[in-house]
């Protein structure tokens, strides 16, 4: 997740990483990681130093461009999947129209990654 400062809107954080911020902590399906009270700022934004540390998300910086990037979680299973519940992937089609994976509930889905290269 790309940031210009080490804080994030909880909805943006959920969309990009699949982690929902709830009273019990950061949750992905039935897996919840407790967060200290100070992880959520008074304005509702997340302190990404704290959230990233708790979820085992590495943070890297490009000082020249004043950018931060937060990697995916490592803290729970140590694997790419924390849960078998599919994240609600939202990606654009080639014309930029967003498509939500969860709109296909009720059908079997094979998600196929490919590339022109």
């Amino acid at each position: 997740m790309l940031l210009t400062e080490l804080e994030a809107d909880p909805t943006d954080f959920e969309t990009r990483t699949g982690w929902t911020i709830k009273p019990e902590g950061a949750c992905k399906a039935d897996v919840c990681v407790p967060l200290p009270r100070e992880a959520r700022r008074p304005d509702g934004r997340l302190d990404m130093r704290i959230v990233a540390e708790r979820l085992g998300m590495p943070v890297v910086r490009d000082a020249d461009h004043d950018l931060w990037a937060v990697g995916p979680e490592t803290a729970v299973t140590g694997r790419a999947l924390t849960t078998a519940v599919a994240p609600d992937l939202v990606l654009p089609d080639v014309d930029g129209r967003p498509f939500r994976l969860s709109s296909l509930r009720g059908q079997k889905v094979v998600l196929v990654a490919w590339a022109s290269w």
């Binding site: 490009d62 694997r79 994976l101 094979v110 590339a115 290269w117």
Partner: protein, 231 residues
């Protein structure tokens, strides 16, 4: 090719969703338009599916059931036999330059099992959770790719590079992509995207990176480029 799979299995309840891991969406457009897909055909410039599903190479497939549960994690996913995709296996090596012949000789050792994945998919579409290829949630997590701090850090560097490239600062992206390659050398999607900008198509050795597709393929052994499909 995936449109053919979709035409066959959509009446039985399967939807195909393709995701192009092209940092430049325009590069994927001609392929999508030529395929005339009836299924969602998406673009993932930031390689979100690498992070969310553990994709490290293409083609990779993930099965998701009617309730939104992953029943097979990311694994090699070839959509059947395609004469075009197989042409590198039959070209007369004496008619191409020696370096190309070397590359083709190695590439022919790549395992793709083109019939296996679609046969498994048909079985799952027919039998649902009773298919022997549909895995339990614990097994799905266990079979998903291991993720160390180094690999997660590589994802962050890849995204920095991707952002800078798309912002018109390609030269500034290269150091970040080099870091991603160093930290997660098994992720071919990071490497091939980067190599392809310097040497489109061949993905050869350039001054920007320490290796190339062919060099890294030989290093691991082409037969290991795709892990074998585990039923």
């Amino acid at each position: 090719m995936w449109q053919a799979v979709r035409s066959e299995l959509h009446p039985s309840g399967l939807e195909v969703v393709t995701v192009a891991l092209d940092v430049e969406a325009g590069d994927a457009r001609p392929f999508i338009e030529q395929a005339h897909p009836e299924h969602p055909s998406l673009i993932d410039e930031a390689h979100v599916v690498d992070e969310l599903f553990g994709v490290v190479n293409v083609p990779n497939g993930v099965w998701i059931d009617e309730d939104g549960l992953i029943v097979r994690p990311a694994e090699p996913a070839h959509p059947g036999r395609n004469p075009l995709n197989e042409s590198f296996r039959t070209v007369d090596l004496s008619t191409v330059p020696p370096d190309v012949a070397d590359m083709l000789t190695e590439a022919r050792k790549i395992r793709s099992d083109p019939d296996v994945y679609v046969a498994m998919l048909r079985d799952w579409v027919e039998h649902g959770p009773l298919s022997r290829f549909a895995l339990s949630p614990d097994e799905v997590i266990r079979r998903s790719r291991g993720r160390s701090d180094a690999e997660a850090t590589a994802a962050a560097y890849f995204e920095l590079g991707q952002h800078l490239h798309r912002a018109g600062r390609h030269a500034d992206a290269i150091p970040h992509w080099r870091q991603a390659h160093r930290l997660d050398p098994d992720n071919w999607t990071y490497k091939r995207n980067a190599w392809n900008f310097e040497d489109p198509g061949r993905q050869g050795h350039t001054s920007a990176y320490d290796s190339s597709w062919f060099e890294d393929l030989k290093k691991i052994g082409a037969e290991n480029y795709y892990p074998p499909i585990r039923p």
